[in-house]
Symmetry: C2
Subunit: 217 residues, 2 copies
DNA sequence: GCCAACGATACTGTATACAGTTTTGTGGGA
DNA sequence: TCCCACAAAACTGTATACAGTATCGTTGGC
């Protein structure tokens, strides 16, 4: 017999707060530098500081918030150097993703990618913040399709940081360009062109940086 | 005036427990699968469960312990597939490290590397567990010299996991071979041979895997 | 006016209490 | 013997209390 659904199971508290804060940060509802006092966050979500601290620890480990000792956590505001570092690593990691995917991607994976890009296209005009999030998740989906959990995790990490960086610049057409470039990446993978896919990804990432008017990595 | 040294400053508790547990795990004092009940760990180190939970959270985020909901944390025991994943990512990340270092390494960096390898040589015969740790830290040091904090962090991450994996196999001569190979890597970097350094690193990592009698990545 | 000392306020770090969940051990029936 | 039910023990999840630390405004001296 199926267990009765509960409104929140034990252990889900931190996860929920983490997800909500993360969404707020990437969606610019919390701008870089915003302070996140534990008590305030706890009150806002109706939980205790204990739960908030667990969520903050995770956000800090992903670089989305800074959390110095004995001081309030605050939303990270990456410097130019840090931004360059993030995108430099994306070149490394996502280059490896393309190499691996060109060999092993199957029609089902291609279909998932195309479906995702379709959602990007839908959100692109109406929900700019969500468009940024979806554009990032496309890259995470690519990484997941490699079948390497670790690679997927690191890509997810740098993509989160990228979203925070890009949210700060607030270019609204970023996503439109991303859609056509994402489709191009899929096409290259589909025909097994690993070299082309790697190069296209490198160019795509440079475009993303360029549109955000950051100096190239 | 300098502040009076304290035995432990607030906020240092979790960090200390984290470091001690990590050392015990990598040093095989805690073997894979060992249970880590919060209360037991807390009693052992003379702190409260609060502190232990923070340390466990960090270890779990680095993949050294598994921490399912409502269950005791336990030391991870990586499967063959997970081990292959770890070393596959090391190829990607450390290949990038060599590329970057061949351009930018300075005599001071070379000196630090050589000094480190000297310590590896000293520990190699007498303290096998410490030799494994030092061999890992050589790779972390390489990554740090690139000047990319993020790259350094990810390398540190996969090296930790590797240490856990290698500790399980318990090959005692691993470290001796590592010393000569590490010196070879330094020599290649010193003469600016990026391609050679990248290839040598790839071979080195394959050797490490081979000595541990794991299937090649 | 300017700056240092100081006190109030806000906030974090850690311990602990209690409730809820999982695990373990034990006895009874087939 | 095997296996299920069930109760006891072990353990985690969360809230809360209290002590310690940073932050900020104010006051007093110059």
């Amino acid at each position: 017999m199926a267990k009765q659904e509960r409104r929140s199971r034990p252990g889900d508290g931190p996860e929920r707060i983490y997800a909500e804060l993360r969404r707020s940060i990437i969606g610019q509802e919390l701008s870089p530098g915003s302070r996140l006092p534990e008590a305030a966050v706890a009150a806002r979500f109706g939980v205790s500081r204990t739960v908030v601290r667990a969520a903050l620890a995770r956000l800090a480990s992903e670089g989305l918030v800074l959390w110095p000792n004995n001081r309030s956590a605050k939303v990270a505001s990456p410097s130019l150097a840090e931004s360059a570092d993030v995108f430099g690593l994306r070149q490394v990691l996502e280059g490896a993703v393309m190499d691996r995917l060109a060999d092993r991607i199957d029609p089902q994976g291609v279909a998932r990618l195309r479906a995702h890009v379709a959602r990007e296209g839908t959100a692109e005009a109406t929900h700019p913040a969500e468009a940024i999030r979806l554009a990032g998740e496309f890259h995470v989906l690519l990484a997941e399709l490699t079948g390497s959990p670790l690679l997927a995790r690191y890509v997810s990490d740098v993509v989160s940081r990228s979203s925070l960086i890009l949210a700060g610049t607030g270019r609204s057409h970023s996503s439109q360009c991303a859609v056509t470039e994402h489709l191009e990446l899929i096409a290259l993978l589909e025909r097994g062109d690993g070299t082309g896919a790697r190069q296209a990804m490198a160019a795509h990432l440079l475009h993303v940086v360029g549109r955000a008017s950051l100096p190239p990595a």
